[in-house]
């Protein structure tokens, strides 16, 4: 009888990388549906197009490395990266913008470092920032929500994507843009003059944030990640906004609620900063990691030059993660005072 040589443990749990990634993809569904409902099929087209480019790129690079590309693609991590990036891109972005963004994410964000598990930065955010710096016009061309403008149908959408000449037709300022561009109006006046803005973050935006929150809570329930980073980020952002809110003058940074439910807040909290590879490792580390991102988002939103700040804040903290890890090593069993209670 031939005997198998395997070392312990011989039993293993149910968790698998591909299942984790699948859960993340599933959790984006509510948010994507809401975005599609309010802004038309642009986001969906982004995701499909981006996914195809991403799979092709990952397949090619891994094959060139001489490893089995099917194994790499089947862990679904590349689809997660491209999907997250494509949700963040404006709907009706031209096809080349999507392609460049996805290729940057997969190649520069992930594969140059050695592929899954080795990337120090969040790959989707790498792609996003490169696009933001290189193509600021296209990147700020967000669509107006349903109710304020005609939401394009599928045919129009495809035309925009593949023959992007009529870009102005579907461009509108996002609530965060409005807040940023505002110089003289009281917040309440701004609300009155800008139809797309509400005190809860803006038409469509509030709902999308809510949907991503729902997806995030489901991921928490599935134990894909722990609560530490997302909750720390949201709390820090809310606390900063409370401190910076003066009741609504033109200098005011917007209320805590406004910040929690506008822009990419919930999406960032549950889908971006929870990327395990590029975040801090321990729970304590993740608390600090999340809180600093929350604070940075507020600072960049109110003081910086870009309307939303998630990508920059995340990349900066990705860079800091190893330092956070160094200072937040958990207390190992038996290393407290002799015979002490557990600390």
């Amino acid at each position: 009888m031939s005997l198998l040589k395997v070392t312990s443990p011989h039993a293993s749990g149910q968790s698998r990388v591909s299942a984790v990634m699948r859960d993340v993809l599933v959790a984006t569904v509510p948010g994507v549906l809401v975005l599609t409902g309010y802004f038309g099929p642009g986001t969906l087209i982004n995701i499909i197009l981006g996914g195809l480019v991403a799979i092709a790129a990952e397949y090619a690079v891994v094959a060139m490395r001489g490893r089995d590309p099917r194994v790499a693609v089947s862990d679904l991590s590349v689809l997660v990266t491209s999907t997250l990036l494509c949700i963040a891109l404006p709907p009706y972005a031209p096809w080349w913008l999507i392609a460049i963004g996805v290729l940057t994410s997969v190649l520069l964000g992930k594969q140059v470092f050695g592929g899954l598990g080795y990337n120090p930065f969040n790959p989707a955010m790498v792609g996003y920032v490169v696009l933001l710096i290189s193509f600021p016009v296209q990147m700020s061309a967000w669509a107006p929500p349903r109710g304020l403008a005609e939401v394009p149908g599928l045919g129009d959408t495809l035309r925009h994507v593949f023959a992007p000449t009529t870009i102005d037709a579907v461009t509108a300022a996002t609530p965060l843009d409005l807040l940023r561009q505002n110089t003289g109006l009281l917040f309440d006046d701004l609300l009155r003059t800008s139809a797309e803005l509400t005190s809860w973050g803006g038409i469509g935006w509030f709902e999308a944030n809510l949907a991503f929150l729902v997806g995030g809570i489901w991921l928490l329930y599935r134990r894909v990640f722990t609560w530490h980073a997302p909750i720390a980020m949201l709390v820090a952002l809310a606390v900063c906004a409370l401190m910076g809110y003066d009741g609504g003058s033109s200098e005011s940074g917007g209320s805590a609620l406004f910040h929690l439910f506008s822009g990419a807040t919930m999406f960032a909290a549950f889908f971006i900063i929870t990327d395990p590879v590029s975040s801090a490792v321990s729970n304590r580390g993740r608390l600090i990691f999340g809180a600093l991102i929350g604070a940075l988002i507020y600072l960049i939103r109110t003081l910086g030059n870009y309307p939303d700040a998630v990508a920059f804040a995340v990349l900066i903290l990705n860079f800091c993660a190893p330092f956070i890890d160094h200072y937040t090593q958990p207390k190992v069993y038996g290393t407290g005072k002799a015979g002490s209670k557990e600390t």
């Binding site: 031939s2 198998l4 069993y333 015979g339």
Partner: protein
């Protein structure tokens, strides 16, 4: 009611304990040949006291302890010594080791046993010696010589004797069965051990998934009217780790690198306590143990009391192994056991379980994927380590960071690898890294020693040279002044010089080291 403390991490793998029907115990048949390894414990192998051709009786010592970290070996039954040679043994490394091979005669004639009921009249030293002579080593898995454990020394006063009846590994029910079938002996053994270490209290801890054992031990405590506390606590792996159960029941942590006695505890397995009772009261050495034979590849999973030295293959046949190649037979449990590399290897004092799973039951691990740093491993680690960082540094062979992240506090429980979504064999990396660090430390000690010797010699040679130089100068000066005084008699001066040289040589034999 004792407050039960929670430990960090832990997992809940499927228990599969009912498979081997805990609480039912039969004797395994005596095989035609018994293979008795000289080292069934942690430490120095025993020294054979029989020769090939000798007839031996049951309970007769066949190998004697060599020093403190050693325990003797006894014949489980009567027969003839047919070989003393290297045989495959059940060990993670898959090596061979020296064994005494006994051909059994089937008569099971044993030595007359001399025990005592009046053990309270005996002092600790005598009792410890009898326990050592009975060949008792920890029966929970590591096989640490019990006599050593029972001698923590006067600077470590013992408050509590803790019987660890947790048996938290899936599948294994040997201790559960022992506690159900031999509860009275367990209580007596615990009292003896407490007497030996002068413990004030006896505490028995059992996980709450063993109602049979809990009821049996409770009843035995009542029957004996003994002052023994029974504590139960929620099932979680690895609560049965010595450090873990101590934290669960006392809220205290054993200091890193220390032993339980540092915080006033001695912790033993129920099997060890029963063996101590039999050694002292019945005068019987350790020759049998309870082994769980389990796994879906067996037709009749069960618990047996088997002679130490029984070949694994005999027990597998006894339980009806349905041999489908390639088969894995695991010595120990699914979390910490190792795959046996040769079924001819015998069971020893530490064999609590032989697990023969089918390929669907415990599938061979998939190829590992990269670590995605999800942190599930850190959540599961009972030692509060960061397994993902240890993995990273183990691969980078970064010994400094491994020390920083306290690799040696890892108890190799496997909880981290169990939850890992990338199916990384983490424990394998930690074992390898520990081995490498031990090797390089030994290397360093050796070179430190030789460097130390070299430097000391160098220093000695230098001082000697300096002393010679000083003497030479002094002699020269003396000769000079003498010559000056005596009006330069060259012959006399030469004689003087020769005399001085001779005296110097007598004083300073040539250094040869």
């Amino acid at each position: 009611m004792r407050t039960v403390h929670d430990i960090h991490g832990g997992i809940h793998p499927p228990e599969r304990k009912a498979l081997s029907r805990p609480g039912e115990l039969t004797d395994a048949p005596i095989p035609p040949q018994l293979v008795m390894p000289l080292r069934q414990h942690l430490g120095v192998p025993a020294q054979p006291t029989v020769e090939v051709g000798d007839t031996v009786l049951g309970d007769q010592q066949i190998a004697a302890a060599q020093g403190v970290m050693s325990v003797p070996v006894h014949a489980p039954t009567s027969g003839t010594v047919v070989a003393i040679e290297s045989r495959p043994i059940a060990h993670a490394s898959g090596l061979e080791d020296q064994c005494i091979v006994i051909e059994t005669d089937g008569h099971h004639r044993c030595l007359d046993a001399v025990g005592t009921d009046d053990w309270r009249a005996l002092d600790a030293i005598t009792l410890v010696e009898r326990i050592r002579e009975a060949g008792i080593a920890g029966m929970g898995g590591a096989g640490f010589p019990t006599a050593v454990k029972l001698s923590p020394g006067p600077e470590r006063p013992i408050e509590t004797l803790l019987i660890n009846g947790t048996e938290c590994e899936p599948y294994i029910t040997a201790d559960d069965t022992l506690m159900q079938c031999h509860a009275d002996e367990l209580i007596e053994g615990a009292q003896i051990l407490a007497h030996v270490v002068s413990a004030d209290a006896i505490l028995i801890g059992i996980e709450d998934n063993k109602p049979g054992a809990i009821a049996a031990v409770e009843a035995a405590i009542a029957r004996a009217d003994a002052d023994i506390e029974l504590a139960t606590f929620p099932t979680k792996y690895p609560s049965g780790g010595e450090k873990q159960i101590i934290e669960i029941l006392t809220g205290q942590q054993v200091p890193s690198g220390g032993i339980p006695a540092d915080i006033g505890l001695v912790c033993v397995n129920p099997g060890t306590a029963v063996a101590a009772k039999r050694a002292i009261i019945d005068g019987k050495p350790l020759t049998h143990r309870i082994v769980t034979l389990t796994g879906e590849a067996l037709k009749n999973p069960q618990n047996v009391s088997a002679c130490l030295g029984t070949p694994i293959t005999a027990l597998m046949a006894h339980a009806g192994l349905n041999a489908i190649a390639p088969q894995r037979v695991i010595h120990g449990g699914p979390m910490m056991g190792f795959a046996v590399s040769n079924l001819q290897a015998p069971i020893t004092k530490i064999t609590n379980c032989l697990l023969a799973p089918t390929a669907t039951e415990l599938p061979v691990p998939e190829p590992a994927k990269p670590c995605i740093r999800c942190g599930h491993c850190a959540e599961a680690c009972p030692a509060s380590l960061l397994p993902q960082q240890l993995y990273w540094y183990a691969r980078a062979k970064d010994q400094e960071q491994l020390a920083e992240h306290r690799l040696f506090d890892c108890i190799e429980c496997g909880a981290c690898a169990y939850v890992c979504p990338s199916q990384i064999p983490l424990v394998q990396y930690y074992r390898a890294a520990k081995g490498q660090i031990r090797d390089s430390e030994q290397e360093k000690r050796r070179s430190d020693n030789s460097r130390g010797r070299f430097e000391a010699r160098q220093a000695r040679l230098e001082t000697e040279a300096a002393a010679r130089e000083a003497k030479r100068a002094a002699r020269k000066a003396a000769a000079q002044s003498k010559a000056d005084a005596e009006g330069a008699d060259p012959i006399q001066a030469a004689i003087e010089r020769a005399k001085a040289r001779k005296a110097d040589q007598d004083k300073e034999p040539e250094q040869t080291s």
